[in-house]
Amino acid sequence: MVHVLQIEDLCRRFGALTALDHLTFEVPASQVVGFLGPNGAGKTTTMRAIFDLTDLDAGTITWNGSVVGQAERRRFGYMPEERGLYPGMLVGEQLQYLGRLHGMTAIDASSATATWLDRLGIADRAGSKVEALSHGNQQRVQLVAALLHEPELLVLDEPLAGLDPSGIDVIGEVLAEQARSGCCVLFSSHQLDQVEALCESVVIIDNGHLVVAGRVDELASSGPRRLVVRVEGDRSASWAEGVAGVAVSQVTGGEVRLVLQDIVDSDAVLELARGAGRVTKFVFERRRLSELFREAVK
C-alpha cells in the first residue's frame, strides 16, 4: 500500500497569535520531505497536531484517507523538537519500553533495539543511563526511539540540530533508507543546504500558511534564469549594474550572481562582462534552496 499523509485546512490560534492559518499540504510515500519555515512559522505546531499533542481549531489530518487516530499514531515515529527521554533510565531498557508502547513484542523490541543501536554506532551504550551520554549520542538514541517500531510515517522536528557532520551523514542515510523502503518522512530543519541534499520535496510555510511546496528539482529549475559570472580583476561587478532586465542577486569572492528576466539575451550579458575584463566563469545555475526560501518568506 502506498501511504500518504494529508494535512487539510489546519487552523490553530493561541490567544491573539495565529499559529496555523488554513494550512494544507501532503506528505507522499517514498520521499524525504523537508518542512521549512522561519521561527514561529507553525512547523512544530503542525507536527504536534499530527500526534494530537495540541488542540486544533479546525482542519483534519488523514492517513491514507482516514482521519488519524490512536491506532494510526502508534504506527508513526516522532522525534520532538525538545528531546525527551527518561534521564535516569538505561538506554536499552528505555528503547524497548518505547518500542513496546508502539505495539512491539518484548522480543521484537529487544532485537530492534540492538540492531538500531549498532547501526547508529552506540551499541556499547545500551547499558548506560541516558543522562551519561553526550548530546549527539542522546540525539541518536532519540532517533532510534522514533525508528524502532518500523514506522510508516516519520516526523522529525529539527533532527539535525546540534549534530556534528558525521552525525548528520548517519541521520541523512537513515532517512533516505526509510524513504526508499516506502516510509513517509517529514522533517524540519533550518540547515537549508542539508535539506537540499537530503530531500526530494519541500514544504515551506510562513505565518501558519503554505507559501511553497513541491519537488526540489522542479522548484530549483523554475523561475528566472540564474547566471554566475567571474571577470578577472573585477571584484565589484559594477559592469552588471544598471543593465535592463538583470538583477544582481549576490556578489561574493569575485563572482556575481545575476537573475535574468526572460527578455534578456545572455549573449548580450557576456559581451558586457567581456567589456569589463577577461571572463573566467560564465555558467547558468539552479536556484538554490536557500534562495528559494528567502524569496518565499521575505
Binding site: G15, L53, R73
Partner: protein, 437 residues
C-alpha cells in the same frame, strides 16, 4: 472482615473503571495482543515500568528500611520496658496477713506488674515515703490504701490499675471476713464469675484490649501520614519529571494521556500496597514473636482498617497530586503547590492524633471520618475506639470511592490539558480556558 473485602473490591473496580473509560477499541493484531494480555497493554506496560523503577530506587529501599526500624522500635521497646519495669513498692503499715498479701500479689499479676512489700513503721512514715516516691501505695492495717495523688478516671497506667485492683480485692476479702464465712465458702465466692450477656441483635460482645487497639491506631495513622506523603511526592515529582524532561511528548505520541496517568497511578499504588503489606506483615509477625500487647483485643481489626484506608487515601490523593505535577516543571514551582495540597492531610492527621490520644473520639473526629480528605486518618481511630459500626465504615468508604472517581475525572482533564504546556507554571484558569490551551 467482610466489609474490608467489599471496600477493597470497590476501590479496585473504581480504579480500573477510570482506566478503561476512555480507551477506545483498537483494530488489528496489535490491538488483539493488547486485549488478550493485560500486562502487555499500554497501561500494564506503564504500570510495570513504574513498579520496576520504584523498586530499584534507593529512596524506596532506604524509606522502607527506615519505616521497618521505626515499627520494630515501636513494638519491641514497650515490651522490653514492661519486662524490665521496676516492681511497684507497696508499703505495709501494721500487719497484713499472708492470705491478704497473696491477694495483693494476685492483683498485681492481673495488672501486669510485680510488687515488693515495704514495712512501714507508722502512717506518718508511709505518707512521707509516698511523698518522696519511695513507695507507690501504702496499705494501712489491711483496711485503707494511701496514694500520693487522687486517681484520675482516665488514667489507665499499670500503677493505677494495681491500686484499683488491690482496693477492690482487699475490700472483698474484708467483706468475706466480716461475714464469717468458712474457708470453703470464701473460695466458692472468690471463683464467682459474671453471667454471660447475650445480645438479642447478635454480634460479638466487647472484650478487653481497648488500650492496645488505640495504640495500634495511633501508630497506624502515623504510618498512613508518612506513607501517603511519600507516595504523593512520588506521583507529583514523577509527573513533573516526565514533563520537564520532555519525554512526555514521546510517550503521548504512542499512548493516551489517561492511559499514561492510569498506569502511573496503578504502578505507584502497587508499590505502595506492597510496601504497606510488608510493613503490616512485619509488624504482625514481630508483635506475635515478642508478645507485644499491640495486637490484643480489636487491634488486628485496626491494622486491617489502617491498610484499607491507606489504599483509599492513596486512591483519593494520587489523582490530585498527579494533576498538580502536570502543572509544574521545576522544583521552585513545586514549592508553591506543596503546602496547599498538604493542608487537608495535615489537618486530618493532627485531628486524628489528638483524638487517638484523648481517650475518646470527639464529634469533630466523627465528622472528619466521612470526609474523603480526612477519613484515612479519622476512621482508623474510630475503629480503634470501637466507635463505628461496619455499615458506617462501609458508608465512609463508599463516599471516598465516589469522590475519588469525581476527582480522577477532573484530574485527568487537568493532566491532559496541562502536561504539554511548558514554561511558566500552568494555572487552573488557563487549563479550563479554551483559548489559552
Amino acid at each position: 472482615m467482610k466489609f474490608v473485602v467489599i471496600a477493597l473490591a470497590v476501590v479496585l473496580v473504581a480504579t480500573l473503571r477510570v482506566g478503561r473509560r476512555r480507551r477506545h477499541r483498537r483494530t488489528g493484531a496489535r490491538a488483539a495482543r493488547s486485549v488478550s494480555s493485560p500486562l502487555s497493554s499500554d497501561v500494564g506496560l506503564i504500570m510495570a515500568r513504574e513498579v520496576r523503577e520504584r523498586f530499584r530506587g534507593r529512596v524506596f529501599k532506604v524509606t522502607t528500611l527506615f519505616i521497618l526500624i521505626v515499627v520494630a522500635a515501636a513494638i519491641v521497646i514497650p515490651v522490653l520496658h514492661n519486662g524490665k519495669a521496676k516492681p511497684q513498692e507497696v508499703g505495709i503499715v501494721g500487719t497484713l496477713s499472708s492470705s491478704l498479701r497473696a491477694t495483693v500479689t494476685s492483683s498485681a499479676k492481673s495488672a501486669d506488674v510485680t510488687v515488693h512489700f515495704v514495712p512501714e513503721s507508722s502512717v506518718k512514715k508511709a505518707k512521707s515515703d509516698l511523698h518522696s516516691g519511695r513507695i507507690n501505695v501504702a496499705i494501712v492495717d489491711g483496711r485503707e490504701l494511701l496514694v500520693k495523688s487522687p486517681l484520675s478516671s482516665a488514667d489507665n497506667s499499670s500503677g493505677v490499675q494495681l491500686v484499683r485492683s488491690v482496693a477492690e480485692n482487699l475490700g472483698i476479702a474484708e467483706a468475706f471476713q466480716a461475714a464469717q464465712l468458712s474457708p470453703a465458702q470464701s473460695e466458692t465466692l472468690k471463683e464467682a464469675k459474671a453471667l454471660p450477656i447475650t445480645s438479642v441483635e447478635g454480634g460479638k460482645s466487647k472484650s478487653g484490649g481497648g488500650n492496645a487497639s488505640e495504640a495500634t491506631s495511633l501508630i497506624g495513622i502515623i504510618l498512613i501520614f508518612v506513607m501517603l506523603s511519600q507516595y504523593n511526592t512520588w506521583m507529583l515529582i514523577g509527573v513533573m519529571e516526565e514533563k520537564s524532561s520532555r519525554v512526555i511528548e514521546v510517550l503521548l505520541s504512542a499512548v493516551r494521556p489517561i492511559q499514561l496517568l492510569t498506569g502511573k497511578v496503578l504502578g505507584i499504588g502497587l508499590v505502595a500496597l506492597a510496601q504497606a503489606s510488608l510493613i503490616v506483615a512485619f509488624a504482625l509477625i514481630l508483635s506475635k514473636a515478642v508478645g507485644s500487647s499491640l495486637l490484643h483485643g480489636s487491634a488486628p481489626l485496626v491494622v486491617v482498617s489502617t491498610l484499607v484506608w491507606l489504599v483509599l487515601g492513596y486512591a483519593f490523593y494520587c489523582w490530585v497530586y498527579a494533576a498538580a505535577g502536570s502543572m509544574v516543571e521545576r522544583q521552585d514551582q513545586v514549592q508553591s503547590l506543596v503546602l496547599p495540597l498538604s493542608l487537608p492531610m495535615i489537618f486530618g492527621y493532627i485531628m486524628a492524633l489528638t483524638g487517638a490520644s484523648s481517650g475518646s473520639p470527639s464529634a469533630l473526629l466523627k465528622v472528619l471520618a466521612y470526609l474523603p480528605p480526612t477519613a484515612p486518618f479519622a476512621m482508623p481511630v474510630l475503629v480503634g475506639f470501637r466507635a463505628v459500626t461496619w455499615w458506617e465504615f462501609l458508608g465512609s468508604a463508599i463516599i471516598s470511592v465516589m469522590c475519588t472517581i469525581g476527582i480522577a475525572r477532573v484530574a485527568a482533564t487537568v493532566y491532559r490539558r496541562a502536561i504539554l504546556r511548558t514554561g511558566a507554571r500552568v494555572r487552573l484558569r488557563e487549563v479550563f480556558n479554551r483559548t489559552e490551551r
